[in-house]
């Protein structure tokens, strides 16, 4: 098992290398530079700034420098927020995004699984149709509509929630963003769960369990759930990586100081180091969560073995 983890982490290195390389050259090919848009910047100062950050070196040299820094664990300074290094920016924003993302993910997994199971147990009845309708709505309505509608209904009309802001992590400030993040995921999980649960309930060991006179609860929770949960485990990997690295829409609408906006803002301002930092962080999250999911597979499904 440990050897498997080690091997997986080793194979992640070339993947990461390719991603870093592609991203590095892609953002450099784009026209413009980090100091082009700054107003009132005289050409001399700009030249100085560019020299200071080594932007006048040949591209391959900058690339080698960047890789060297990365190996030493440094993402470099941010060009557009010169008081901060990229690492500091992430240290500030990432905990916030991770908190929101984790809450949304847990909520989605719990609620989605329950709804999906209810739908599967009441196939083609009212409960089933309600869950299907909810799932269709959740996966059709875009986040940038859900978020302002939540603000409008819960924040302005009913005055239950603050309209936005982080509020130093107060619980009430998290409700809106977490709901918005979770709704589409609940829809996906419910749909997956419904499908796999229907399948699982049809299998032979369930028939046997029922024949042995086990209670409905025991049949569903102890026996059917274990088989049905596999598709949800594999969904969790990419979903977790996406949720935990911040959502630009949710963080913009609710004014949350997370990392969701970094990528777009950095790319538009040609803040090269911040773009690269974001790409690396997203890639790392994806790799790690896919690994965790594969390990979970072995826990859930005893037929899977990593030796």
């Amino acid at each position: 098992m440990l050897r498997y983890v080690f091997r997986r982490l080793l194979t992640a290195i070339p993947t990461l290398f390719v991603i870093v390389t592609v991203a590095f050259f892609l953002i450099r090919v784009a026209p413009g530079g980090p100091f082009n848009q700054e107003r009132g910047l005289s050409p001399e100062i700009r030249a100085n700034l560019e020299a200071q950050f080594g932007l006048n070196d040949p591209l391959w040299l900058q690339y080698v420098h960047y890789l060297g820094n990365l190996l030493r664990g440094s993402f470099g300074p941010s060009y557009n927020l010169p008081d901060f290094t990229v690492t500091e920016l992430f240290a500030k924003g990432l905990p916030i995004s991770v908190q929101l993302g984790t809450s949304a993910l847990v909520l989605a997994l719990l609620l989605g699984s329950i709804l999906g199971t209810i739908a599967a147990l009441n196939q083609n009845k009212l409960a089933d149709y309600s869950v299907i309708a909810l799932a269709t709505a959740g996966s059709t309505i875009p986040t940038f509509v859900i978020a302002p509608v939540i603000q409008l209904v819960f924040g302005l009309s009913w005055k239950l929630l603050p309209i936005g802001g982080w509020g130093d992590g107060a619980l009430i400030n998290k409700v809106g963003p977490v709901l918005t993040l979770a709704l589409p995921q609940i829809a996906i999980v419910a749909r997956l769960m419904r499908g796999s649960m229907i399948e699982s309930l049809r299998s032979h060991h369930i028939r046997t369990a029922r024949a042995l006179g086990l209670s409905d609860w025991s049949v569903v929770v102890k026996h059917a759930l274990r088989g049905a949960v596999l598709p949800i485990v594999s969904f969790t990997g990419p979903a977790a990586a996406a949720l935990l690295t911040g959502s630009i829409i949710v963080e913009t609408i609710f004014s949350i100081p997370g990392v969701g906006r970094y990528f777009v803002d950095a790319a538009l301002n040609r803040d090269y180091t911040l773009v690269m930092g974001t790409v690396v962080v997203i890639a790392l999250f994806t790799i790690v969560f896919n690994l965790i999911v594969d390990l979970l597979y072995a826990v859930v499904d005893p037929r899977v073995r990593y030796d």
Binding site: L26, I27, V145, A147, Q151, L156, V264
Partner: protein, 374 residues
Amino acid sequence: MTDLAVAVPEPIAGRSLWGNAWARLKRNRAAMFSLYYLAFISVISVFGPMVVPHEYTTIYGDYVRMPPSLSAYPKPDMIQGALTDAIKRMRADIKEWHQDGNRVIVTVTSTKPIDDRNIRYLDRSDAFDDTRIENKSPDGREVTMSSAVKQQYFFFGTDNTGRDLLSRTLMAGRISLAIGLLAGVVAGVIGVIYGATAGFAGGRVDEVMMRIVDVLYSLPFIFFVIMLVVFFGRNFVLMFLAVGAVLWLDMARIVRGQALSIRRQEYVQAAEAMGVGQRGILLRHVIPNLLGPVVIYMTLLVPQVIILESFLSFLGLGVQEPMTSWGVLISVGAKNIGYANWLLLFPAFFLVSTLFALNFVGDGLRDALDPKDR
């Protein structure tokens, strides 16, 4: 009952597979309703902006952020305000005013003689029209004017700068739907050609082509899109062609898989055994059988593009003012929910209902064209 036995049996007209599919689709009420709804939305988006009395760019300075209403503006209680504003610009004072049917009759006084041309200040207001001087005192310091009240309807209200939201929503629909179709077709065509080539060529060519797709898949999608925005700047037509060029990956995979499986079907082997050429097989068997999945996936591609367009416009990277799209309107609405929630609700309703309809049509087509997959 007896005549039934003697009735001459009519020759049974065969029904094509497409006819079958159409019959199945017609039985699906949600899909048919969605189809009509989409037709309705398309018609009002294309022709609506020509019919609505307001241009989508016209700014009514006196009607900023007016709530939606079925009755005409100016409201009776707004006439006083509009009149006061206009007369103030004339540098005169209202002595008396009253309304006579459709016209407002106002008497103004000033310390200096009032120039006749000053009545244009009343016409310039969005509330009045066709101003005439009715009576003038000998010293010219007191003038009685009459002016028609301009009746204007803003069924969806007006936005932050006083533009009619109805015409803007319809115009936005035109843009959003056009972009959805345009980028959807671009993605579809590239995907079909690429996937079909890979599926037909098979062997090493297929291997290489599909590895390229895998590599493109593994890059974060949003990274791609942002890079496209960076490259193409704010030219949205070019940009959405590029977005279309990114979305073809799924289509390529689907078409390739289909092409591979169709080629191994028994009826194709039978045709080959009977000596039908490559071309014949392609036209008679492969293309008609590919059409189903392609049509289904296209209907799912269009909403994807519309969401993507709205997402980019929401971030301020897509369609630029004064041109508009549902994403642009929703983004403005989201910033103004505190005092003008109609700016969010109307465009959001149009966008979401259209997305629902497209999804229902897609599901309906899938059921109709591929009865195995139910």
